[in-house]
């Protein structure tokens, strides 16, 4: 995606068919080249939005599967700059959302930390903050951000930077989110809203949470697309979630499980990519099946 003109309309537009598939992998797991290949497979399989993880050393919102993916990526040398290079080199026609933790975004703008040695002259370091990273991300072709450790009340600077660069900021609505918090989030969320389907952390599960219909119901008046994540791993689950009223599903750990298996068995990247593409296709088909008949609308 060498073209840096994506805007938030891209993200919302990706949900036009009401059965969008948002697919997550961690950048650099296990190598940047593999990620590039996996992203292509995801898109070929029908992915509408790629959520590309920028690995952070303390991924508190992730379950074991994605923690391990992040560890593999970090051990292989993934950095924010390498991430942006990778994004820049992607040649896919769907929007890319950057999923990461706030400290990486925050540090990128830090003249002090980035060049402590160059800064011995004593000049005032530039202030830290999200602006630089957002600018660089926009330049590389990112369409938006999901930052799980940045609740709405702390999101001011990042929100402002996203607006300035035309990027979407996606908030996660949790099962525990209160009404007044929901209002504050809906005031700021653009692109889509990330509906956390269950308590806890990310990770593939066998069944859709019973709470999903209620979670969607209270969002029915929201004027952004609603994508449900946390625990979805099969076409059937995707169908069920979309049938419950979602505009899309977010899947991550199910792909990462395939990548982990590939690493474990030393499978060729192309084989793993095929499996990933197949899973994406299954999920996309399931999601499409779940779209209610027109008369139900």
């Amino acid at each position: 995606m060498s073209d840096a003109t994506t805007s938030r309309s891209d993200l919302a537009a990706a949900f036009a068919d009401e059965s969008a598939l948002v697919s997550y992998v961690a950048a650099g797991d296990p190598t940047p080249a593999a990620t590039e290949r996996y992203v292509e497979a995801l898109v070929e399989g029908g992915t509408d939005v790629v959520e590309l993880g920028l690995p952070f050393s303390e991924p508190v919102a992730e379950g074991t599967t994605i923690q391990n993916a992040i560890k593999r990526a970090l051990d292989a040398g993934m950095t924010p700059d390498a991430y942006l290079d990778l994004v820049d080199s992607l040649d896919v026609d769907v929007p890319i959302v950057c999923m990461t933790y706030y400290n990486l975004i925050y540090q990128y703008g830090d003249g002090e930390a980035r060049s402590a040695s160059e800064n011995a002259s004593g000049e005032e370091p530039r202030a830290k903050g999200p602006e630089e990273f957002v600018a660089a991300a926009a330049e590389a072709g990112i369409s938006g951000f999901v930052v799980p450790d940045l609740p709405v009340d702390e999101s001011g600077p990042l929100y402002d930077a996203c607006r300035e660069h035309g990027l979407d900021l996606v908030f996660i609505v949790a099962p525990t989110t209160t009404e007044d918090r929901l209002e504050r989030m809906l005031d700021r969320t653009t692109g889509f809203v990330y509906v956390q389907g269950r308590l806890g952390t990310t990770g593939a599960r066998d069944e859709v949470s019973d709470d999903t219909p209620d979670a969607l119901a209270r969002l029915q008046d929201a004027d952004v697309p609603k994508a449900v994540g946390f625990g979805i791993s099969s076409g059937e689950q995707a169908r069920e979630v979309v049938a419950s009223g979602a505009d899309g599903v977010i899947v991550g750990s199910a792909y990462v499980d395939l990548i982990a298996d590939g690493v474990e068995n030393d499978d060729p990247t192309s084989e793993v990519a095929d499996r990933i593409g197949d899973l994406a296709a299954e999920l996309k088909a399931g999601a499409a099946d779940g779209v209610p008949e027109p008369e139900h609308k």
């Binding site: 919102a61 400290n103 609740p151 009340d153 525990t176």
Partner: protein, 418 residues
């Protein structure tokens, strides 16, 4: 919720309602003593915990340094460290909030033990997350937690130490947030934790002030405390800074006392600085050498790479071995109210032996850093050192390290050689 630029609430949305509920409970029960919560806490920390802890005059150290040295004896608190002040306060608060399950992280096991203890006492189910590496090397504390009927969950991710245990506890909390309270072990994490933990711990400095008045007839010139996450530090400084607020304190005992020097002694480890390539810092001196960032719910000073990845810290003292520090301490350092200093592993080991030999008190390795700083203290005194905990847990480490490094003043252990 913030201390200057530091603090805040950087946690996943799923936890935010719990954090808000806790903030409300903190304001009502702790700050406003609703339902007599603080009275209950004060009674229990006295009768179960053994407060007040004494302020001991250290005659031999005073002679050595030519200045009056006093020791605030948190080593005598139930459990052997200051940790219970906070653990008991939070578990009791969870009970008042109607929570019916406790989770906590632990590194060396001191906070886990204190939490398990408080839960046994207050009849609350308890699960402790602890890195697999730490489980294996801190067996006595694991025994203690299990004896108090706490579940101990080994965390196998990463290096299997404190940072991973915190991450995993946050994940448990995110999963069971509705009925579970997370007892954070230091003045870190999202608001209200840094303020709340400080308030429970500041009973230390509240007593210090009263005891100094009674025993010395004046406030000390300086208070010295070790700083890892910083709970004993803010415990020792809180009432002098004036930020702490626990109802029911003696009149004036929480008034700002700007003339009292506050020295936070960090773990200098084997050397200062961060090795970004290795993702490793051979120290835990985040106040002295760290840079601003966001970790575990708060903006604060951190040991991190240029990119913002958190590095593995190091200290001979497991309890100081953390890459972050409480946001209030970071702020007080920026403000110039608290002076951050550090001593290295060897100096801490020497101080461990010095206090054991000269005063009959075996300090925790954490505390030994504060004691070590007396070698550099150049004020007139009287100076109070916060003895944050006892060193029984550290005996094996100290004996091994002292022999390996030929530490000055370490006694021969040849009594074991047949």
């Amino acid at each position: 919720g913030t201390f200057g630029d530091y603090g805040g609430q950087y946690v996943p949305e799923v936890l935010m309602p719990a954090v808000e509920e806790l903030t409300d409970a903190y304001e009502r029960y702790v700050l406003d003593n609703e339902a007599g919560f603080v009275d209950d806490f004060r009674d229990r920390i006295r009768e179960f915990g053994g407060r007040p802890t004494p302020l001991s005059y250290a005659a031999n150290l005073s002679e050595r340094y030519g200045t009056e040295v006093y020791l605030k004896r948190e080593d005598l608190l139930h459990g052997g460290a200051h940790k219970l002040n906070n653990a008991l306060g939070q578990v009791l608060l969870a009970k008042y909030m109607g929570k019916d399950r406790i989770v906590a992280e632990t590194g060396a096991g001191q906070h886990g033990t204190a939490t398990a203890m408080a839960c046994a006492y207050l009849d609350m189910p308890c699960e402790i997350y602890m890195g697999r590496t730490d489980v294996n090397r801190q067996r006595p504390n694991v025994f203690r937690m299990r004896l108090h009927d706490a579940e101990v969950n080994p965390v196998t991710v990463g290096s299997g130490t404190l940072k991973e245990a915190i991450n995993e506890t946050m994940r448990d909390w995110a999963t069971n947030v509705e009925d579970t309270h997370y007892v954070i072990g230091s003045i870190v994490g999202p608001h209200p934790f840094p303020s709340m933990v400080r308030d429970f711990q500041a009973i230390i400095s509240e007593e210090m002030r009263e005891q100094a008045r009674d025993q010395i007839g004046r406030l000390p010139e300086a208070v010295v405390a070790c700083a890892g996450g910083g709970s004993n530090t803010m415990g020792a400084f809180g009432a002098f800074v004036g930020s702490a607020s626990l109802p029911g304190h003696p009149e004036g005992s929480h008034e700002p006392a700007p003339d009292v020097d506050l020295l936070a002694v960090e773990a200098g480890g084997s050397s200062l600085g961060v090795d970004a390539d290795e993702g490793y810092a051979p120290n835990s001196a985040s106040l002295s050498t760290g840079t601003e960032g966001v970790l575990h719910g708060a903006r604060t000073k951190l040991l991190q790479t240029d990119e913002g990845q958190i590095v593995e810290s190091h200290s001979v003292s497991a309890g100081l071995d953390y890459a972050g520090v409480g946001p209030e301490l970071a702020h007080l350092v920026d403000e110039g109210r608290v002076e951050p200093v550090n001593v290295d592993d060897d100096a801490a080991l020497e101080a461990f032996h010095r206090l054991s030999r000269e005063e009959g008190i075996i300090p925790a390795l954490e505390t030994s850093h504060a004691v070590a700083y007396l070698e550099h203290y150049d004020g007139d005194g009287p100076v109070v050192v916060n003895v944050s905990g006892r060193g029984d847990k550290d005996l094996d480490t100290v004996v091994e390290e002292s022999a390996a490094k030929d530490i000055d003043g370490a006694p021969s252990m040849e009594v074991f050689e047949e």
